[in-house]
Every structure is written in C-alpha cells, then in structure tokens.
Symmetry: C3
Subunit: 138 residues, 3 copies
C-alpha cells in the first residue's frame, strides 16, 4: 500500500464552475496505483468542489444562477467586510462541499460518463485557489 499527495492551484477570474478533471486524471495516472481512493480537498471557505455534468455547458449556467438565487447578495448579512459577494460565498460553500473522494478501480477513477470535477468559485474578483490531492492504494 502506498500514498501520494499533490498541491495544485486554480486561477479563477470570477464566479462560476472551473473544470479540472483532466488535471486530476493525469496526476492520478502518474502515481502507478491500480486500486485506491483519491481525495480532492479545497483549502478555502469561499470556493468549493462539485462533481457535475461535463456535457451541456448550460447545466453550469443554470447551477451558477441557481446558487445566486438561493444565496443572494441582496440581503442584510452581518458579515460583509469583503463586499456583497462575501457572505453568499460562504453560504454556497456550506451548501456544496470542500472535499470529494473518488474510488480508483482497475487504474481508473470511478467517475461516471457524465461526471466532471469542478472548482466552484463564489467570489467575483480573481483568486488563486489551492487544491490538495491525496491518493492511497496499490
């Protein structure tokens, strides 16, 4: 049994879903692990992770618009020190997740045909987001 870890950075330019499935798949394939468990961890509280459809891009448009509706900027939050997108960003992170684990079987991640791995950026201004990967297996 062995382990590998890796840190990667995703540069964002505004709110929305940024796919990084291929980065993850490529890193995993270099670890020479046949069966195992991959964990993806987002080190932030105003950006999160989502596994979602990687085909029709309007799914992402609708997802972004939906979270804007259910966690609106136009509300008298107590915490607003970093602007109107600050507190909605924390709420959207709470409603999604900062960690995903995906089994690795026969040398391939168990992602379904339509599943892509996305960083969900909730802040308007550009950010550098740190993602940690951990793989255990053999």
């Amino acid at each position: 049994m062995k382990q590998s870890t890796h840190s990667l950075e995703i540069t964002t330019s505004g709110q929305g879903l940024y796919e990084f499935t291929s980065t993850v798949v490529q890193w995993v394939s270099r670890q020479q692990i046949h069966t195992g468990l991959l964990t993806v961890f987002c080190r932030h509280t105003s950006a999160s992770l989502l596994i979602q459809e990687n085909a029709d891009p309007t799914v992402r448009t609708d997802i972004k618009a939906y979270f804007d509706r259910i966690a609106p900027e136009n509300f008298p939050y107590h915490h607003d020190s970093e602007g109107p997108d600050d507190m909605p960003a924390h709420l959207k992170t709470a409603l999604t997740q900062v960690q995903l684990s995906i089994p690795l079987m026969e040398g391939r991640l168990a992602l379904g045909t339509w599943q892509g791995i996305y960083l969900f950026e909730h802040r308007v201004r550009p950010h550098r987001r740190e993602i940690v990967l951990h793989l255990i297996g053999e």
Copy 2:
C-alpha cells in the same frame, strides 16, 4: 492493510429515497476487515447519496417534498433537454452529495442508530444507478 471494491446497481422507479444500508453492511461484513474506511460513490449527476433517518418514513416524504420546493421544476432553466425534472435533478445532486465515507470500527460501520444510507433519485422515469464501494483497512 488491504482493499476491496465492489459495484452495485440500484433500480429506481421514480423520485425519492431508496435505502441500501443492508446491501452495504452485508458486503462490508464479507470483506473480513476489522478497522477501516468505507467509501460509497454514486456515478451520476442526477441522483445522489444521503445518510438520513431510517425510522419514521415521513422524514423521507418531507425531505423529498422539501427538495422539490427549493429546486422546482417550474422555472425557465436553460438546460431542459431531458424534461422538466432534468435541471432540478442536477441542482438536488449539487445540494446533497455523490460520495460518503464511513469509518469501520471493531468490524462495524460507525453509522449511528438512526442513520441509514440512501440513494436519492431525482429523475421521474425509471433508472439503473451504479454505486461503487471501496473499503480499505485490516
């Protein structure tokens, strides 16, 4: 330290929560692992996983009705190619999760007394849903 993986299929006939705790518990018990970590992964973007109360069935009725209210069909989504339940299914999946990990201690999953493992089907028509199990431990 050893690992096991398993794929299982859950046949759904409409929206709602389908419990499969006993299937998982039985598979885990056959792996002869005393201490470890079980991961349950759902290979879809329109069905998800939930750990919820396994006692009073009205909890599931209320959960289903609640997600129908907060992710309604009656909305002008951009993505509607597969019908009015298509985009709400993606939203409900984003609001819940496609992966759960549960520690195994003294040969038993660490599920609480009232916790059951459910597939949350978000599509109206019948589907076959693929679930992957991964167990690591010894």
Copy 3:
C-alpha cells in the same frame, strides 16, 4: 501503513456552530502519522459537519440565520413528533454533510488558514453528539 480511530463527544446547548478543530488537530498529532487521510464522521441525522471560516464570528451568525430561513420551522411537515425544530434539523443535515475527509501532509492537516471544523447543531435542546475520527497513513 497504519490506522487509528477515536470517538469523541460534543455537548451542545442549542442550535449553532461548535468549533472542535483543536480537538481534532491534537488527536491527529498524537498518532505519529506524517502523511495520510483523516475522516470525521457525525453519527446523527439532526446535526452535521461544516468546514467554515474560523475568523469573524458573524460568519457563523449569518450561516445559522441562513439555514433557519431556507429550512424554516413554520411549515406543515408530516414529521413533527419531536417538535418544530425536528424536521428542519433533518433538512439542514441533508443540505450540509455528516462526513469530512482531510488529507494530512508533512504532519499537518491540509486545512486552509481560515478553515475550522464545526459541528452544526440543528436541535434547540441540549444534546450529546458523537463524532468518530479515522486516520490512515504512515
């Protein structure tokens, strides 16, 4: 490769976010594992886990108020046997999560600077909540 497990109890006195990052960090540091994966599991269906900002406490005030708004007590739920906070507690648990996994790198959890680990208590009356920790690595 080795594993450790641990059970801990968090006593709650009403709804809100209870940080227990330091308890987790201290337990992890005693396991003498340099690289690995920590899993935190909450054994309940009316309390959940959240990684959120550990700096400005008004973030937690806003998070609690937000979940009270989107899963209100004032609704004709079918399941209300334990009082008006009963069903909203299940819904808030479904919207967040009962499990978190965090990679361990160079002897430290990969938590970001502003990330704290919280128990999110959704019931009004005092409760004792059981949390299970599982660490695998070497």
